[in-house]
Symmetry: C2
Subunit: 347 residues, 2 copies
Amino acid sequence: KNILVIPGDGIGPEVTTWGKAVLEKIAEKFGHEFTYGEALMGHAGIEATGNPLPDETLAKAKASDAILFGAIGHIKYDNDPSAKVRPEQGLLKIRKELGLYANLRPIMLFDELLDASSLKPEVLRGTDILFFRELTGDVYFGEKKRSEDRNTASDLMIYHRYEVERIARKAYEAARVRSKRLCSVDKANVLEASRLWREVVQELAPQYPDVETEHMFIDNAAMQLVKNPKKFDVVLTANLFGDILTDEASQIAGSMGMLASASVGDGTGFFEPIHGSAHDIAGQDKANPLASILSVALMLEISFGLKEEAKQVTAAIDKVLKDGYRTGDIADANTDKTKILGTKAMG
Amino acid sequence: KNILVIPGDGIGPEVTTWGKAVLEKIAEKFGHEFTYGEALMGHAGIEATGNPLPDETLAKAKASDAILFGAIGHIKYDNDPSAKVRPEQGLLKIRKELGLYANLRPIMLFDELLDASSLKPEVLRGTDILFFRELTGDVYFGEKKRSEDRNTASDLMIYHRYEVERIARKAYEAARVRSKRLCSVDKANVLEASRLWREVVQELAPQYPDVETEHMFIDNAAMQLVKNPKKFDVVLTANLFGDILTDEASQIAGSMGMLASASVGDGTGFFEPIHGSAHDIAGQDKANPLASILSVALMLEISFGLKEEAKQVTAAIDKVLKDGYRTGDIADANTDKTKILGTKAMG
Ligand SMILES: CC(C)[C@H](C(=O)O)[C@@H](O)C(=O)O
Ligand SMILES: CC(C)[C@H](C(=O)O)[C@@H](O)C(=O)O
């Protein structure tokens, strides 16, 4: 298997280093042969070539069997709303070009981290959610306009039936082999795109009679996720709502530093932490590499069908946490100070 | 003062009954003269006239000094994405017609309810947030389209400079007399409308040098709100993001049943709980009337400048809670069963 590593920006390079190290260890232990490429994207791509997604990166991506990505973004662009070239364009473009329309974000809860969350342990215990976020449509990719006098700006929130259907099917299939509950989140009381979304899900539902379908408005879902996260199992939602809900849900897992995601669709799978580039701690050996390592577990399972290997990665993380080791972001008041580790030691 | 009561749908009539009763009590106690009108909106409007915002309601609204509103929506329409006439259209239209561009949602924390939240008390204690949600623009009001074959649907997310500026000024002015911190929430790394939003806020910031301005992406804000709500003071955001964030934030206050909102702008002020119509408990004497009563406190203060009166309403709620009385939604494991009240008794 040929794996492309795209470290990206900020803490991306630090965390992917350890994701890759875990891949090497798994290959050694199980006798697999993994080869690695590396490529630039985001701010790193702009600095080197002027392009947030250099042609060479895209070509390499298409030719690889799976992609391990770090993080994207730079504060410089965040504060310059008029910048024409932006790091994030690289990520959006690669999602589109590779047809990565389904972004899977499992909210995993390590028992040892129950106390690291701002939510009460009794509210959290037993939570196990799998988000299906649509990733190549919505207001992310609809036409963007700025009036000539620059006083009016717009983005088109748009969905086509086939886009909703293909991600909904993936979510239903996952629900079938999980607890057979699917919650579709939209804002159908206000948005036409959401009304199409709901129509399509309603049409598909009878084809999955073993799955119980619920529809929920995004505002209510954002509330219920804090109030009673256990009520969710498979959550299906659009690109923008999925972006917001999954970041919110990261607090269930104690920290963004613990959440991995898999983007799949027509071709090569793309695996990345859901955290951002975190420039404020970049290069300081502070970032939590576990989300990158969990992304590797997802890659092993989803792209390569290596279930046992994936399980061993997760088990290793579980053991490290049981032994009391923490990075700063998941340490709590009870953590033994000597067991608070940097990126390298945790990796 | 002439107050229009619009009970609306579901639990709306039950809760506004008690909001109005509190207004009557205040008038009596302080020697004010309040007169009341009543009008239909939402599903109630559709049933009676075919129109979710009957002309008569709009005329009465424009002629009144303040409006007390209940709730809107009906499950019948939620599950029928192709319905042409919908209750919510009434609420959206009245917001637009009255020029209610600023929706103020204070997240108040009653000490007694610290344990009713799913968040840890130590995370919550000291939280005091005032949301400024833009209310007459964004993807709510941009053009909606459905292709002839019905397979493509879209909504235009659009903002004009003046729309951002007028709400931003209101938020800055509030920040000045609070803790002098303003957090503007957008998705400027992806959306053009957000880039305009950020530009306008950046331009205004130097005019409020005493206020510290921060910009945050919506996904991050949804996360931080759970992780560390205390870090927020005045939060300024667009219509859709505000809808999501404020519902999420309701869990800070223990329940949606505790949150009131004020919509203000060019004319008559509009006061309503942030909760919905909750048809599942409508007519069962279960709804929490405190959000409607807190809406009355906002009306007294904001529309009529009656600060002392507003304070006494809030103090009365505080006392009731201190005495241990709760509606079901804010009861916790420690609540004395005999002190769990219905809507009437709490009112
Ligand atoms: C960096 C940004 C464009 C991206 C998104 O909004 O999709 C990120 O927040 C994510 O969730 O992957
Ligand atoms: C009922 C609905 C149209 C409304 C909105 O989305 O604005 C509600 O959720 C609110 O927050 O007032």
